[in-house]
């Protein structure tokens, strides 16, 4: 939500706390090359393709104030060629070989990926290794691409009321931590970025020891490992990139934000600071998000959408898998004529119930069933599985996947009540309201 991924083509992915099964995690193989590049391999032969992803441990978090949008700009420029590959040729080569490619940037990571047949995936390996070490970031492409990024910002944020609200609320909910900055960058910052900024950033952060590779699909480990070594081993290890370690000070009082914008319907956003997967409470928080808005029979959905007819829909999202603690958000677009203050009151009323009375056993079991079913369905996609592995690895280690289902199954009704009391607390809350204005 606050980390708005900036992508090359239209692709936005949000992953909150869903994981592979224990069985699958046991089938992942890990290798580490001498230059520090970690390689995660998961064979899966039910689909006719292979997805290859390069994850760089760099994102918006590594930027400085005044230079927001740099990591995302670099992601764009990575497609502008190397000494071996012309500008935009990377995408053309992948497409010509029947593949699909894209990339995205978030606050925590920059990821490049392609999906191709087993026979062709080796092509992508070589291209990715080449641009990890030799991207030209050509001067002649810099200004046009800056304009492209500014159009992207206009499309995704400036002309999108919900996103615009999210951006403002994020800057208030996080006072200090880099999560407060939009990944695409503030418009004025983008305008002032220079090519030298990109070159410095690339040299500092794009190295084999600051990245890892994830491959999922119809390949053979014995066949692909030598190809990976051949492509990547020659890239020299770099000095360790500086890690960003910023602690957001504890919030001790509600923050409120209003955004007035041309829109049709009011929008409400509530964000509560909460720990991430490093906390034992993260499983209960995950289950809580499903209890609140995981389906049409979930508490908030049923009350606000169905019974009281106040909102079009309501979402409860918990950012479990992030590098630093993010939080728990509740968002809703209001029906015409409804007052935001009323909806706020109703939501707090619902939350008070969860904090005082235990949810029913059936509600708890229902939420767990939904989570377990979802992660089987998620295995239907090799791309989805690769993304999950990547998210866990970036935030602390892919092996943490193993703990997920067990952790969920152990959550009790008392846990739900306890985490609701502890984290869905008004003093830790930022409330954003979009007030629609009408054009003249």
């Amino acid at each position: 939500m606050f980390w708005q991924p900036g992508v090359r083509c239209v692709l936005t992915i949000f992953f909150f706390g869903v994981a592979l099964s224990n069985l699958h995690a046991a089938q992942v193989q890990e290798f580490v090359l001498d230059n520090g590049l970690k390689v995660l391999l998961l064979e899966d032969h039910k689909s006719p393709a292979v997805t290859f992803q390069v994850w760089y441990r760099v994102g918006g978090r590594n930027e400085k104030d005044g230079k927001s949008g740099l990591a995302h700009f670099l992601e764009h420029m990575m497609f502008k060629g190397t000494p071996n590959t012309g500008p935009e040729e990377y995408s053309r080569i992948i497409a010509k070989n029947g593949g699909r490619s894209n990339a995205f940037t978030s606050s925590d990571m920059t990821v490049y990926f392609a999906t191709m047949s087993r026979e062709k995936i080796g092509i992508d390996l070589d291209l990715e290794a080449d641009r990890m070490a030799n991207a030209l970031l050509g001067e002649q492409y810099f200004e046009p691409e800056k304009k492209v990024i500014q159009e992207e910002r206009r499309l995704r944020t400036d002309d999108n009321p919900g996103s615009a609200l999210s951006e403002v609320a994020g800057a208030v909910a996080f006072m200090v931590h880099p999560y407060r900055r939009p990944v695409v960058g503030w418009m004025e910052d983008i305008e002032k970025l220079t090519r030298q900024d990109l070159v410095d950033f690339y040299k500092l952060y794009y190295a084999p020891n600051n990245a890892f590779v994830v491959i999922v699909g119809d390949f053979s480990t014995d066949e692909i490992l030598p190809k990976i070594r051949n492509a990547f081993e020659k890239i020299a290890r770099d000095a360790d990139a500086p890690k960003v370690s910023v602690q957001e000070p504890e919030q001790q009082g509600e923050r409120r934000v209003i955004l007035k914008k041309e829109a049709e319907l009011p929008f409400l956003l509530m964000f509560y600071h909460a720990p991430n997967l490093q906390s034992a409470d993260s499983f209960a928080l995950d289950v809580l998000s499903v209890v609140l808005a995981g389906g049409r029979s979930a508490r908030l959905y049923h009350e606000l959408v169905y019974e009281k007819r106040l909102v079009r829909g309501v979402d409860a999202d918990y950012s479990r898998v992030s590098v630093d603690p993010m939080g728990f958000s509740i968002t809703a677009q209001l029906l015409p004529g409804i007052q935001p203050a009323n909806v706020e009151r109703e939501i707090y009323g619902s939350l008070e119930k969860i904090k005082s009375e235990l949810i029913t056993e059936r509600e708890l079991q229902k939420a767990k069933n939904q989570i377990e079913a979802a992660f089987i369905f998620d295995q239907d996609s090799i791309f989805g599985q690769a993304m999950k592995l990547g998210y866990y690895e970036i935030t602390g280690g892919w092996r943490q996947l193993d703990a997920y289902l067990d952790g969920i199954r152990k959550v009790t009704r008392e846990d739900i009540r306890r985490v609701a009391r502890q984290y869905l607390d008004g003093d830790r809350r930022t409330v954003g309201t979009l007030i629609p204005t009408k054009q003249q």
């Binding site: 083509c9 239209v10 039910k46 689909s47 006719p48 393709a49 500008p87 935009e88 995408s91 053309r92 497409a95 010509k96 070989n97 029947g98 593949g99 699909r100 999906t115 047949s117 200004e143 046009p144 691409e145 800056k146 304009k147 492209v148 159009e151 992207e152 206009r154 499309l155 400036d158 002309d159 009321p161 041309e262 829109a263 049709e264 319907l265 995981g294 389906g295 049409r296 029979s297 049923h302 169905y306 007819r309 079009r312 029906l335 015409p336 059936r362 079991q365 229902k366 069933n369 939904q370 989570i371 079913a373 979802a374 089987i376 369905f377 295995q379 239907d380 996609s381 629609p436 054009q439």
Partner: protein, 416 residues
Amino acid sequence: MTPKRTVLSNGMVLLTSEQRTLPMVSIELLMDAGSVHESAPQAGLANLTARLLTYGTKRRSALQINETLDFIGASLEAACGQDTASLSMTVLKKDLATGLELLADVLTQPTFPQAEIDRQKQAIIATIRATEENPGAVAGKAFAAAIFPQSPYGRPVEGTEATVKTLRQKNLQDFFARYYRPNRAIIAVVGDVSEQEIASLLNTALRSWAKGEPSAVTTVPVKIGPAKLVRVNKELTQANIVMGQSGVARDNPDYYAIQVMNYVLGGGGFSSRAMDSIRNERGLAYSVYSFFAAEKNHGTFEFVMQTKNESALEAIRIANDEIRRMREEPVSEQELNDAKDYLIGSFPLRFDTNRKVASFLAQVEYFKLGLDYPDRYADLVRNVNRQEVLRVAKQYLHPETLITVIVGNLKKIAEK
């Protein structure tokens, strides 16, 4: 993918593909019950009918349906388009019997309770309002209205606030009784279940579902709107642009040559001319693409992009140039081969998940492409040559008939 096709005793076409590696089943059902069947004063009827299916049956209230689905972690979504309505279900294998029984229930026994009708009408009207703040959707709606005036294809599926308000329970019941019939339905079932097992389960679950009026075979002639400029003023930083005209129906034999031609023009992402001249060279847009939407009875060609208000007119001029260029010179040998290589090479990626296979099979049946379509596709594309591409460009791209829609800050757009 190992597809099988059967016709059930009630006339419903069943397609299956066994995929045993995950204990899940994906179901896609298409019903010939789209908004094309409604009259203009009742715009939104097909959509409202589809929505109400999961909000109450003889056996279950809306709440019971919600609870049942959520408790087994399954999803059941009803949607409506211009030609067809659809029901999509994803369910764990262990809950297949429950899922199918529920699916059969909502498909054959909905009761359209008045309270639920009121709820959904309010929700749909809110959706119509919310769409106004989505500039791309506003542009799309304006384009459709201009290209297919006085036609169901020119109307939004949701209808308008005024027409939705007039819809009554009897309208829904009548529409349902006439158009929701097994011999108007296609169902694709993919996953951890065999063809025999699913055919048997469906025959049982749907045994009381009687045949009705079959789908009409005749095509409906559609009046095409003339070239014009449509401007919609909104307080935006970008102009949202749709330039388009009439296209082809899916069964037009030129479909494959058109796909190749469009790939070069604007469908090929970073391999397309539109992307090169509008995005890469000039930085005028982040998203720019073209497509031919080929439906059962009609089709469109559309060129879509968003650019800051101040560069709208320049971007439109360049788009026009690119369209013109496609008609004037043959594409290069490299462009032709790149297009064909992508279309053929990436074809398997269209069905690399259970859900995509279910959707794919339903579409193949709906457009009568034949179960051997995946085997024939490569040759259909391979046979396209440069002369064919030029011919279809001349035949189907007519810059002088383009309808151009601009949604944005008209004052800033005109200033340039």
